[in-house]
């Protein structure tokens, strides 16, 4: 097994790894990327950098990843969707990402164009995420592109994919994630999940590790955000007890932090104890401060 990134090295060494996420904006400024990354690097091994999430056109994830890595030293997991690029553009961008020192790519299908801020764009989807993983494997392992054209030099990238333990029906999701692993995904980061049984079910089926599975969690800064997340994300069910506590604590940020620390440190401890998950992927909306607090509480 060749290891190119610190993130992958830690996973292979059996460390329990934390990652978080930074979302580039529709902006030519970079200070927010650097500030967030400087804060996150105290707590996480790597940070995901999203690629035009919800089909909104933002700063390129490759450029943002490069900026973060070169300005702060925080390793990135650069998202790449198949929504906006055909295989020519994907190959070209993988070469570009390689040149810029990006070592981890998270392959994503991408929310449909009609859901974003440029809904009249042509959705590309020339290849799907599984086929992109296969294409990447060939580029990395054989030094050839999808049509056997040789690549000069070595591509040193680890491939990740996403999975959703909340999916209903779950079999189709499990079989799909299994396909992505068969195609060559080395790690899986999951959709936000609150339910330990769903986490266990997902992990038991996929029999890690490797592939390494990082469970997505989402500490909610307010009751309203919890409601929104439940409404917007496929299958995510947030326990009523947790939501009720948030509602009662409305306006009291210290209390809200306490609720999140308690809930998520218990969940993470349970994940560590009773599953073969390799780590946690923490997502937030404007609530980075909780990340350090949860990790420090473990």
């Amino acid at each position: 097994m060749r290891i190119f990134s610190n993130f992958m090295k830690k996973l292979y060494n059996g460390n329990f790894v934390f990652t978080s996420e930074i979302e580039p904006r529709k902006s030519v400024k970079i200070d927010y990327l650097i500030n967030k990354a400087n804060f996150l690097k105290k707590y996480v091994t790597a940070c995901n950098v999203t690629d035009n999430p919800r089909a909104n056109a933002y700063l390129s994830s490759i450029v943002a990843s490069y900026i973060i890595q070169s300005h702060t030293g925080l390793e990135t997991i650069c998202h790449m969707t198949v929504r906006d690029r055909n295989r020519i553009a994907l190959i070209s961008d993988i070469l570009g990402a390689s040149v810029l020192g990006i070592k981890n790519i998270l392959v994503i299908t991408g929310d449909h164009t009609t859901m974003g801020d440029i809904p009249n764009a042509m959705p590309v989807y020339d290849i799907d995420s599984t086929q992109f993983i296969k294409m990447l494997r060939k580029m990395i392992d054989e030094g050839k592109d999808i049509n056997e054209n040789p690549i000069d030099g070595k591509i040193e990238i680890h491939i990740g994919a996403v999975g959703n333990p909340n999916a209903n029906p779950i079999e189709v999701e499990l079989y799909k994630v299994e396909r992505k692993i068969k195609a060559g995904a080395e790690f899986i980061q999951t959709q936000i999940v609150f339910d330990i049984e769903k986490i266990k079910n997902f992990i038991d089926y996929l029999k890690p590790s490797p592939p390494f599975i990082l469970i997505g969690i989402f500490p909610c800064k307010s009751y309203r955000i919890a409601e929104n997340i439940e409404k917007k994300l496929p299958g995510v069910k947030i326990p009523n007890e947790y939501k009720d506590k948030l509602k009662k604590a409305e306006g009291n940020s210290e209390k809200i932090d306490e609720i999140n620390i308690e809930y998520f440190s218990n969940l993470i401890k349970e994940i560590k104890k009773s599953t073969k998950a390799s780590g946690i992927h923490i997502m937030t909306i404007e609530y980075e401060r909780i990340i350090g607090k949860i990790i420090n509480s473990l």
Partner: protein, 209 residues
């Protein structure tokens, strides 16, 4: 069947002409009730009401050059006289008419898709003519047409309680799974399907047997 709908601003196109020949279609557009005898007659009357000269004829299948020639044999003079032809048929028919007549052609219909008819007024797109039918692999359901992301290894992460993230229909890949399972072919669902070769349909196609 080729599904068509009437162009909403059709009469705006007609305005600047005085002698108009309307050609209908006896096949798909008749079934869609967009270019049959009745619709051709209605359009001819509307144009006449604009104080213009109009003649109409329904051709059995205007997309077939031979049939077009045959059915219009007795209308040579009228067509020569006309300044413009309104084609109440699909884009294929309209172009065949254009090629045959060398006249200016106004498409009277918008061509929507290749579709299934449930009943008149309820049409569903079913095939994108990809040139390499994979329906057997996918349990008789076409992901290229039905999945908004054209995935061959679905479902995507947007599937929610069986539903597609894009429309309120059932996720194509959930239906494909259920079909294959019913046929005892779950293993086919789990297979990785290779990247599609789009090279054939990225330029206009011809087929010579």
């Amino acid at each position: 069947m080729i599904i068509t709908k009437t162009k909403s601003n059709l009469l705006d196109y007609v305005k600047k002409y005085n002698k108009i020949f309307v050609i209908g279609c006896g096949t798909c557009a008749t079934k869609c009730q967009t270019g049959g005898e009745k619709e051709v007659e209605e359009l001819v009357n509307k144009i006449k009401n604009m104080n213009k000269i109009a003649i109409g004829k329904v051709v059995e299948s205007p997309c077939d050059l031979r049939v077009l020639k045959r059915d219009l044999m007795n209308y040579k003079n009228e067509i020569n006289d006309a300044e413009v032809i309104v084609a109440l048929c699909c884009g294929v028919g309209a172009q065949t008419i254009s090629e045959f007549s060398n006249k200016e052609v106004i498409p009277g219909l918008d061509t929507l898709f290749i579709g299934m008819v449930e009943r008149i007024g309820r049409f569903y797109e079913k095939c994108r003519a990809c040139g390499n039918c994979i329906l057997y692999e996918t349990g008789g359901i076409c992901p290229i047409t039905n999945c908004p992301k054209r995935l061959l290894n679905g479902p995507c992460g947007g599937m929610r309680d069986r539903k597609c993230e894009v429309n309120d229909k059932d996720c194509t890949w959930v239906i494909i799974y259920e079909r294959l399972k019913k046929y005892g072919r779950e293993e086919d669902f789990k297979k990785i399907r290779e990247a599609f070769d789009w090279s054939n349909i990225s330029k206009s196609r011809e087929f010579m047997r």
